[in-house]
Symmetry: none
Subunit: 234 residues, 4 copies
DNA sequence: CATGAATGAGAGTTCATTCAT
DNA sequence: CATGAATGAACTCTCATTCAT
């Protein structure tokens, strides 16, 4: 997706038209603030500072524009989640890794995340792509959880599919809390605490509890901090 | 809601117009299947089997119709949640009660819940009411959690507001899983297991663990099941 | 029009239903304040304090309602104008009489006059009745003027038809001045002065001047004629 | 207006869109024949030979279209009237000038005048502009008459404001007579005679009568009658 | 590439009119 | 007589999409 280098412009333009990206960027912003249905192509064009006929040079129609916004935003997120889910580490590490990916995405581009969450993930009658994509992520985590379960990290009575859904439910609710202004996104410490609570809450609910007498996010910050990122299992 | 007797004002007083309820019901169904933006007033009218203009006899405009769908659905849900949150019982019982209320609502009228979740709770630029209502519920739970925290039921380092949000995040994601077809709503046992996982997952994450060494979904099912306040039928 | 003694009840009901008159009255008021097109039947009904289905008991449709408002208001006015125009007296007396009738009508029921002037006399594509009625009045005055012309009261070169139209033009503009608030209708003296100026202005323009050899506004007729800037043809 | 050359901005600068003018022209015609309320935007579009939506490309809504029709027609008329009223000449010359401006406007574009008179000047609940504009013209003439009165041209007992209103009342009634078909607009001579009767009628009513100390409609009819203005040719 | 005028189907809303009670 | 729920045609306005320049 990012390698569209074959420039159509003759001289030597880089991968993707500058204009196209401008429009995409504008679309993210406008969708985020007014919603997909609440905005007009003209709004996107104005935000991008181009004539609105130009939008149709780069995108077949409004829906494809939304689709592209989705792809662009989602593919990066998905790739990072997959890297974590299929990489090395304990389940705990992976869960913290996934939440970190999510929160980082929000920090970098909250608007894009908002569009993903609000406009796309739940749009009724959504195109196949979107539902599929969302399911893909859950599927990915389900597999991760199944492997963990097989390895004894996850309690056997937990349903991996539902647990995967809940993981994203937690993440999404965290975002919602951000979007609704319940947490100040500019306070890194609060953000990190929220993230840890989300990951921790999930983990407590599903982790096998054979060997961990300790509190998830005990007063002993060092300890808990140490746990989050790196993982350790005594 | 279930007593549709023939006469207009036979037994229960003046009530609400039969037709008005028919339209409201149709609106719920149409919104649920095609989304607010994707449906036309004509669809609602056809679904209700009434003339186009009659919708406007009972509702000022499309938006007020949505608003009313919201109020109608939400107020009942909210009242039940409040009864549980402000009633008697341990935090654990209450959390199980709240999730039970939510799942019961879904069982009774999945379409209405879908509209609440998909169309309203997240609609961008939503009317004050909707956002407020959602916040109200979280506020309610926050207070419940604060009291529990003061009583030592909740670990002190947990942020009640965020925890309240996460509780609803869990519930909502459970619904989403249902809506997306990940759990078959007609299988009561699966439903109950999902509910218990959601409640349990949340509780594990926040409960003080001095007094309850036991797992919520331990083998000893009777106990935890018994706690489920609302929908238990011993 | 003024003898509405009868009771509404069946036993001794006179000519017209009480309710019907109430509705008619309301129609006059509503038409006067919001215009024919700007109001709904519901407005008339509300103003009259009746259910709006009732309007259709007494009037076939909205247009007939307007028509009736017109007839009711116009017939009285027309009858009085005719009495003056076809009665005894000099042309001067008659003209003063006609203006007096008009101003009196305004004093008694300004709203009705406003409807007559604003809504009916000039409505485009008006029904035959309305135009006819207006023309009838002009016709009436034309005949009056023709007789006066034959009697030497009117200068021979004056066109009676145009003069008749101008008479009503003067009257109407006087009303317009009232409607627009340029003259306070509650000041009888000002009203009378306005009326006299209107009648006088008209009379000056058309009366025969047997004994006035002098030019109206300059001794030198040629000169003044020559002054007519644009359209003069020496 | 008459130079419809092919190119968009060939000779006269940027101007106004050709299409916009076409639509405006069509609006005048349609309003004139069916009235503002009686016509649909579709009628205007069809008359103009353009697509429905284009009307909304150039005008915000139906009301703005009417407003623009008004401005366009009125501003030209008003400017000409002002040029006369504030220019050089005797009161008599000016009054003749003003009536000439009005009749000329009718000759050039009777439809536009009809819309001005029938649809706008009297529309109930009209926008500020319209009423204001009408008042402006009367105000203009009132000032003209006041100056004339100070100069002794106007009889002192005449109220300039009312007289100004009556002048326009006369003019307007002349138009009405034309609109109603009482005078054939294609007969220049009849038109001119009507115009002169209107101007003369007004002048007789208000001009100072240096040689006539008597009341306008005194008992001494002969004298006052003598002043008839319209058509005498010594 | 870029522009924005032009198109027209579609949707929300109004309201005159009917009719069962 | 009286009521107001019910009907649906008509109309305004929007906006995605096309296309000539």
């Amino acid at each position: 997706m990012s390698q569209e280098q074959g420039s159509k412009a003759a001289e030597g333009g880089p991968r993707e038209s500058e204009r196209r990206r401008t429009i995409l960027r504008a679309a993210v912003d406008v969708f985020a603030s007014k919603g997909y249905h609440g905005c007009r192509i003209a709004d996107v064009a104005r935000e991008a500072g181009v004539a609105y006929g130009l939008v149709y040079h780069y995108f077949k129609n409004k829906d494809e524009l939304l689709e592209t916004v989705f792809e662009t935003g989602w593919s990066g997120f998905f790739a990072r989640v997959r890297a974590v889910a299929q990489g090395e580490g304990t389940l705990e590490q992976k869960v913290h890794g996934i939440t970190t990916v999510a929160f980082e995405a929000y920090r970098v581009d909250p608007r894009a995340v908002k569009v993903l969450i609000v406009e796309i993930a739940r749009s009724p009658g959504g195109r196949v792509n979107r539902q599929t994509a969302f399911m893909d992520a859950i599927q990915l985590c389900e597999e991760m959880l199944s492997r963990a379960q097989a390895a004894g990290e996850l309690r056997p009575e937990v349903d991996p599919k539902l647990a995967a859904a809940l993981l994203f439910g937690n993440i999404e609710m965290g975002f919602t809390a951000l979007v609704f202004g319940m947490v100040d996104p500019r306070d890194p410490e609060k953000m990190e605490r929220a993230r840890r609570q989300i990951a921790g809450s999930f983990l407590y609910g599903v982790l096998a509890r054979d060997a961990d007498p300790e509190a998830p996010w005990s007063k002993d910050q060092e300890k808990s901090a140490a746990r989050s990122k790196v993982a350790r299992r005594s």
